[in-house]
């Protein structure tokens, strides 16, 4: 009989602690969590690229275009090998892709955005994840309003957002490779 109050006291304390914990637990913002996950995936890609770049011919200022081209192609080949199973959705998971679509929805309808997205867009061309961006095609200009709505990419890392048709592409401009894309990001 003497033990009962102790058990009750422990039980009540636990209940109080758990109630307090429930109150104090930081609210998880699902949008922020998705953006954090996106950042982690991008960082992971950059780690992989840096590893692939290790020992590769350097991209440096030169008058020799062949040297620039060779450095770019070698890096691209190494990344392709390191990500041999890469596919759409590796970075833009379905949840992250949905989040991106929400982010660009309104800015893509702003004055000027539609025109820019249409004019410079290479249109419905064939491209693949982990492959070179098609050589002859222009790179669509990204409307500043859309760019401002998207999560910032790491600075000086040569990653850019671009549009190909309705798809939002994550482009590695150093290797000129398509890293991943959000299908039908704009309507």
């Amino acid at each position: 009989m003497k033990q009962l109050p102790v058990v009750l006291a422990i039980g009540l304390t636990l209940l109080r602690v758990s109630a307090t914990s429930a109150v104090q637990a930081p609210e998880v913002n699902p949008d922020a969590q998705l953006l954090l996950e996106f950042k982690e995936r991008v960082d992971h890609y950059l780690q992989l690229r840096n590893k692939a770049d290790d020992g590769a011919p350097p991209l440096e200022k030169t008058e020799d275009v062949a040297q620039i081209r060779q450095a770019q192609l070698t890096l691209a080949e190494r990344i392709k090998a390191a990500r041999s199973g890469a596919k759409q959705g590796d970075i833009f998971t379905p949840a992250i892709a949905s989040q991106f679509k929400r982010l660009v929805h309104l800015p893509a309808r702003e004055t000027g955005s539609k025109e820019i997205l249409k004019e410079d867009n290479p249109g419905a061309i064939t491209f693949k994840v982990n492959e070179r961006y098609p050589d002859k095609e222009p790179l669509a200009t990204v409307p500043p309003a859309v760019l401002g709505s998207l999560p910032k990419l790491p600075e000086k890392q040569d990653l850019e957002y671009r549009f190909v048709g309705k798809h939002l592409v994550l482009l590695d401009t150093r290797a000129h490779l398509v890293v991943d894309y959000v299908p039908n990001a704009v309507s």
Binding site: E115, D135, A140
Partner: protein, 296 residues
């Protein structure tokens, strides 16, 4: 027979001389010894005969107007960018200028790969946007208008603020003001760049993208030129009766020649036939005038 032969030779020689001096004849710029002289080409990199024709005229113009460097408005190479393409679309057409140590400063257009920044002859110093000061009192800002993110805007703000009382000349691919039927003014870019240009007193802005020549009426004390016809041409694309246009030329290819003195800029647009299509002198607005006209 010999006299007829001599006469034919003389005629041929006269023709060769006429062709050789073509392009130099129409240039009306003062070409003062101490001024800063430069040229502008835009949307040049097609490798077409038109590009070569413009390049030839550009070279010939240097005989009477010895410009030091050329700024490029982007679309420096259309299509593929292999070493052969660099040769055909840049190194060969401009070889006489490159041989004469004329420097080219490129900005990126929507047809250009970012790795052009590593190509030494484009003098981009490995950066997609950069600044250079060819001499005291003048500073150029080359921007990447394809991708105007916050990092670039922050950089520009910092660089403009540090440029003091220099002539400030910005150049990039997409025009903030244009009467082009195909593209027209880039309003979103304008929304972001113009306030900064006004705040820091940018004097002149050059752009391409539109395949014609347009001198825009001064906008809030800034002079705007569209010069995107050094390799491409979109005939009849300058909207007639546009309120923006001070002068338009969309019936031929062209390049521009510029001459800066302390407080005045002389300009001339020259066609691929060596004819002057627009020229004049523009006074530099004082800080007070800039503020007044900009409504600051």
């Amino acid at each position: 027979m010999p006299s007829r032969h001599v006469s034919r030779c003389a005629s041929l020689l006269a023709l060769v001389v006429a062709i050789a001096t073509l392009g130099a004849q129409d240039i009306t710029l003062p070409a003062k010894p101490d001024s800063l002289k430069f040229a502008v080409i835009g949307d040049s990199g097609t490798g077409s005969s038109a590009q070569y024709r413009v390049a030839e005229m550009l070279f010939k113009a240097r005989a009477t107007f010895p410009y030091e460097f050329v700024i490029m408005m982007g679309d420096n190479l259309y299509g593929r960018e292999t070493p052969k393409d660099f040769e055909r679309k840049f190194e060969l057409p401009y070889k006489p200028l490159l041989d004469a140590n004329v420097k080219f400063y490129a900005s990126l257009g929507n047809h250009d790969e970012a790795n052009q920044r590593y190509y030494k002859l484009f003098n981009m110093n490995g950066e997609k946007y950069y600044t250079f000061k060819p001499r005291d009192g003048v500073r150029f800002f080359a921007l990447d208008s394809n991708y105007m993110d916050q990092a670039q805007l922050d950089w520009l703000e910092k660089e403009l603020a540090a440029s003091g009382s220099d002539w400030k000349i910005a150049f990039f691919h997409h025009p903030l003001y244009s009467s082009g039927g195909r593209h027209g003014s880039d309003l979103q870019l304008r929304e972001r760049l113009e306030p900064m240009f006004l705040k820091h007193g940018v004097d002149v802005v050059f752009s391409g993208h539109e395949h014609f020549y347009e001198r825009v009426k001064p906008q809030k004390a800034i002079y705007y030129f569209v010069s995107g016809g050094a390799g491409k041409l979109r005939e009849g694309d300058v909207r007639p009766n546009s309120e923006l246009t001070a002068k338009g030329f969309d019936t031929g290819y062209h390049f521009m020649l510029l001459e800066l003195e302390k407080d005045v800029m002389h300009f001339e647009a020259v066609s691929d036939q060596g004819k002057s299509v627009d020229s004049g002198s523009l006074p530099r607005f004082s800080d007070a005038e800039k503020k007044k006209l900009a409504g600051l």
